[in-house]
């Protein structure tokens, strides 16, 4: 199964994500989930970013929160709402929202 998971919060999602398995996993960081892409607590990146997955982060939600794309790691692709639609229709079979 090709699964895209929307992560919309900064806390309490990693345990749930650990239990999800799929042949192809995409993690789309939206709303407060975008903090995973930018914040480093005590210098360490979010543990959510350690999975074998394709990572995406929504530019609109970064800008809303005063976060630029300059500090985003190279393995996280900054995308638009249009890109999310393309991912849902072309890249993944199912989506989940955390």
């Amino acid at each position: 199964m090709k699964l895209a998971v929307f992560v919309s919060d900064y806390r309490l999602n990693v345990d749930t994500l650990d239990r999800l398995t799929s042949a192809k996993l995409g993690i789309i960081l939206v709303q407060n989930g975008v903090y995973h892409a930018t914040l480093k607590e005590n210098g360490k990146p979010s543990s959510l970013l350690g999975k074998n997955a394709d990572y995406y982060v929504l530019m609109d939600d970064l800008e809303t929160r005063g976060l630029g794309s300059a500090t985003i790691d190279d393995n996280i692709k900054v995308i638009s709402y249009g890109d999310i639609v393309d991912l849902i229709f072309n890249e993944y079979e199912k989506t989940a929202w955390l």
Binding site: Q31, L39, K40, N42, D60, D61, E63, R65
Partner: protein
């Protein structure tokens, strides 16, 4: 003749839950509340950003441009404009690697004299101790 001290403790991230914005709106409303008090009675609110709440003071929030809503940054500036004391926990800023250059420190563009105070957590504990009422958001 009495002064009631209120401490608004913001400990959650901005947006989604909108807790920081709610705390700031309540704190700012102290000016309206004083109309209803007896002569000589006053209310002194202090807003303290701790834990994940310190993320609320990141500057250049573009909530109006992207979603047409007032940003938490604008709420913070409005609080400074009405001379509210706003404290931000230094330890939590350091934990997230957020430097002074990344946060809102004043609202000079709106004509406010007040500035955000970056303080050690001990100062926030002192504010809580001295408050008549403590409200967590």
């Amino acid at each position: 003749m009495a002064d009631k001290k209120l401490a608004f403790i913001v400990q959650r991230t901005p947006y989604k839950s909108e807790n920081p914005k709610l705390a700031l709106t309540h704190a700012i409303s102290y000016q309206t509340v004083e109309i209803l008090l007896e002569d000589g009675d006053t209310v002194t609110p202090t807003v303290c950003l701790v834990g994940d709440g310190v993320i609320a003071c990141l500057k250049d929030q573009k909530a109006m441009e992207t979603y047409g809503i007032t940003s938490t940054e604008m709420h913070l500036k409005s609080a400074l404009l009405v001379d509210l004391d706003v404290m931000v926990c230094k330890e939590d800023l350091d934990r997230f690697g957020i430097s002074e250059s990344m946060i809102v420190l004043d609202a000079e563009d709106m004509g406010a004299d007040k500035k955000i105070q970056i303080v050690p957590f001990a100062s926030i504990v002192e504010t809580i101790k001295n408050a008549n009422h403590v409200l967590f958001f």
